[in-house]
């Protein structure tokens, strides 16, 4: 299904669309204020982009260094080629521990790998502990935003959900009360957990450590109480040195939510005590393939702040689920077609090429250039939507021949406004769904030009 078709379902609820649009734009404004408060913000972005580019050019060396340092600190490093490898490794670790109750903090990587489903199929109870992620988990949906997983939902829907799953007061839709109910429910699960799974924000090659950022404290509770911690990380998350953290951490939360820094910025160097075990699962799952691609490799610099989503006029008005991907929005539209070109072919086409995403990206990924590059790439692969292919081929043919161009213009004008406009509207789909064509002129530009010249 195309982005436009899925978006149609979202925009059918006009009030929700308006709210979604405004809520995300408000986050974008907070980001702007936070960026303006930092002297040298632009220099910081350039530095972050350069460090990432440097790191992406030396991944094998950095990972080997990390592995040796992490092992020296008593952590175990596992390697996964793809999602299946990753899921098998995590399941095996949990089985060895005899863990059946697992708490998980936010990790887009485990979403990408479908870890929850895999573990549940094997009798393991996985609880997402980030409030937004818990909400979408209970609804049986994927997150619609990488930082604000439940931004597509209104408070009364969450209230109804909590009545069903957490026994909250019917009719209650107060965010504070609902958060307290979830806190109580999840705290019991934290206390009963036998293992904690987390994502990772930054891996430090120099020290063998890694950093996890949260506001809620869920990654911390989930790795303090149980004595097994499994951290799942994509190959792109590595940075060379500890001091690089300062550059990225100054950018991350400001770009994401407009906060100066997340509440908790936790640094793990080995298991937190001799009684604890720490396993780090390093996942490729298509990242090395993307790295080999000149036009798209830079997308691996992404630090998952979500700023490109908050600013994107298409994302704000169509909702994260309309992308049908783990990571939605501009960055998702660059990353996901590399996995399944045919399935995600409509995503680069959904972009208006306004370039706002690249303007706010803290690591300066040229997102709109990449989206444009994807259009040609997908066309060459032959997975452009059929109607678009037809209209572009037709347009190309007509434009290339003056005779054809003149007769086509004549035909459209002669066939009267209605039929001509109808054909153009059909060819211009879905762009023309909610847009009126300007009225067709009676005569062509050439005719008018000739007439004016004759007058003089």
């Amino acid at each position: 299904m195309s982005h436009a078709k899925r978006a149609a379902a979202f925009v059918a609820d006009a009030e929700r669309t308006r709210w979604h649009d405004e809520a995300l734009w408000f986050v974008r404004e907070k980001r702007d204020a936070a960026a303006a408060s930092v002297p040298d913000w632009e220099a910081l972005r350039s530095e972050a982009a350069a460090i990432k580019r440097h790191a992406l050019s030396r991944l094998p060396e950095l990972w080997e260094r990390f592995e040796a340092n992490a092992a020296a600190r008593g952590a175990h490093v596992h390697w996964a080629r793809d999602a299946a490898d990753h899921n098998a490794i995590v399941l095996e670790l949990l089985r060895k521990q005899g863990a059946t109750r697992v708490v998980k903090s936010k990790s887009m990587l485990t979403e990408e790998c479908g870890l929850n489903d895999h573990l549940e199929r094997h009798g393991i109870d996985v609880v997402d502990t980030d409030l937004g992620e818990r909400i979408v988990q209970l609804r049986g949906e994927p997150p619609s935003h990488i930082v604000l997983p439940a931004i597509h939902l209104r408070r009364h829907e969450i209230g109804e959900l909590f009545v069903e799953f957490m026994g909250s007061e019917p009719g209650c839709d107060d965010p504070e009360t609902l958060t307290r109910v979830a806190r109580q429910d999840l705290r019991e699960r934290f206390l009963a957990a036998q293992a904690g799974i987390t994502g990772v924000n930054f891996v430090i090659a120099e020290t063998g450590g890694f950093v996890v950022c949260t506001n809620e404290g869920n990654a911390d509770l989930g790795t303090t109480i149980p004595d097994l911690h499994i951290a799942c990380v994509g190959l792109e998350k590595i940075i060379p040195e500890m001091k690089d953290l300062a550059v990225f951490l100054r950018l991350l939360a400001r770009s994401a939510t407009g906060q100066a820094i997340t509440t908790y910025t936790s640094h793990f160097h080995g298991p937190q005590s001799p009684d604890h075990a720490l396993h780090i699962v390093v996942v490729d799952n298509g990242r090395s393939r993307l790295l080999a691609h000149d036009s798209f490799a830079e997308a691996l610099a992404c630090i998952r702040c979500g700023a490109c989503m908050n600013t994107c006029p298409v994302y704000r008005r169509s909702g994260g689920h309309s992308y049908g991907t783990t990571v939605p929005g501009p960055i998702g539209s660059v990353l996901e077609p590399s996995r399944a070109p045919a399935r995600h072919a409509s995503l680069p086409q959904a972009c208006s090429l306004c370039g706002s995403c690249a303007d706010v990206c803290p690591v300066k990924i040229p997102l709109h250039h990449q989206l444009l590059a994807w259009r040609s790439e997908l066309a060459e692969m032959g997975v452009t939507p059929r109607l678009r292919k037809l209209s572009l081929a037709l347009g190309g043919r007509v434009m290339a021949s003056p005779t054809l161009y003149r007769s086509a213009g004549w035909l459209v004008r002669r066939c009267g406004g209605r039929l001509g406009a109808g054909v153009l509207r059909w060819l211009g789909q879905p762009w023309t769904h909610a847009r009126e064509l300007p009225p067709l002129p009676r005569e062509s530009f050439r005719a008018r030009f000739a007439a004016r010249r004759a007058e003089r």
Partner: protein, 202 residues
């Protein structure tokens, strides 16, 4: 399987790696020109916490008496975890028998080394997993930091602390929070609902 996966992943990376790009030279950083205590106060407030200044010699000398009036409820609290020598632990904070009991904590008082004025983040290294759990499960987290430990930005902070020197360390800014329900900010998501940063000395 894992040995072959490791080789396969590293080989794939080697095959795909672009031409080496040199490390950039660190940009020059403009030092913070504002008054650091005032900037820190503003940042802590923005993060949902509160900053107080107490005039004692050091963080280690912070006592319940010194915090009288600035941290309401501490004197009367039943369950207190303390990472500061001159403040006595009480209730479950003194027993320390089981992590799960710590959920009853009213207060957790810990020492921080460095506070970052531009963000309100305080660097703390918990004594161990129990202390870390206490900092998360207590209703109210109190962090003491010496005035001379205040720095302008994170670059200066990383120059002062060495996170790799301990198994676990964190920057903490404000109480735990969430805005996952309609972007309404709620303090006290899973961790403390209140945070007081006590700046010690002048």
């Amino acid at each position: 399987m894992s040995a072959t996966s490791r080789q396969a992943v590293l080989d794939a990376l080697r095959f795909a790696s672009p031409v080496a790009v040199p490390r950039p030279v660190a940009a020059s950083r403009r030092p913070e020109t504002k008054d650091l205590v005032e900037l820190l106060r503003e940042s802590v407030r923005a993060a949902g916490g509160r900053l107080v200044v107490v005039d004692v010699r050091s963080v280690a000398a912070l006592s319940v008496a010194a915090l009288h009036g600035v941290v309401p409820g501490l004197e009367a609290a039943t369950h207190v975890w303390s990472g500061v020598a001159s403040i006595a632990a009480r209730g479950v904070g003194a027993d320390q028998s089981c992590v799960k009991d710590l959920a009853a904590l009213d207060f957790c008082v810990l020492a921080g080394d460095v506070a970052v004025a531009e963000s309100g983040a305080v660097w703390n290294v918990p004594e161990g997993p129990m202390e870390r759990a206490a900092a998360l499960l207590a209703e109210h987290l109190v962090l003491g930091v010496p005035c001379r430990g205040i720095v302008g930005n994170l670059h200066e902070a990383y120059a002062r602390v060495d996170p790799a020197a301990s198994r676990f360390g964190w920057f903490v800014s404000g109480p735990s929070k969430t805005a996952d329900i309609e972007q309404s900010l709620v303090l006290g998501a899973h961790g403390p609902r209140q945070l007081t940063l006590v700046v010690v000395g002048r």
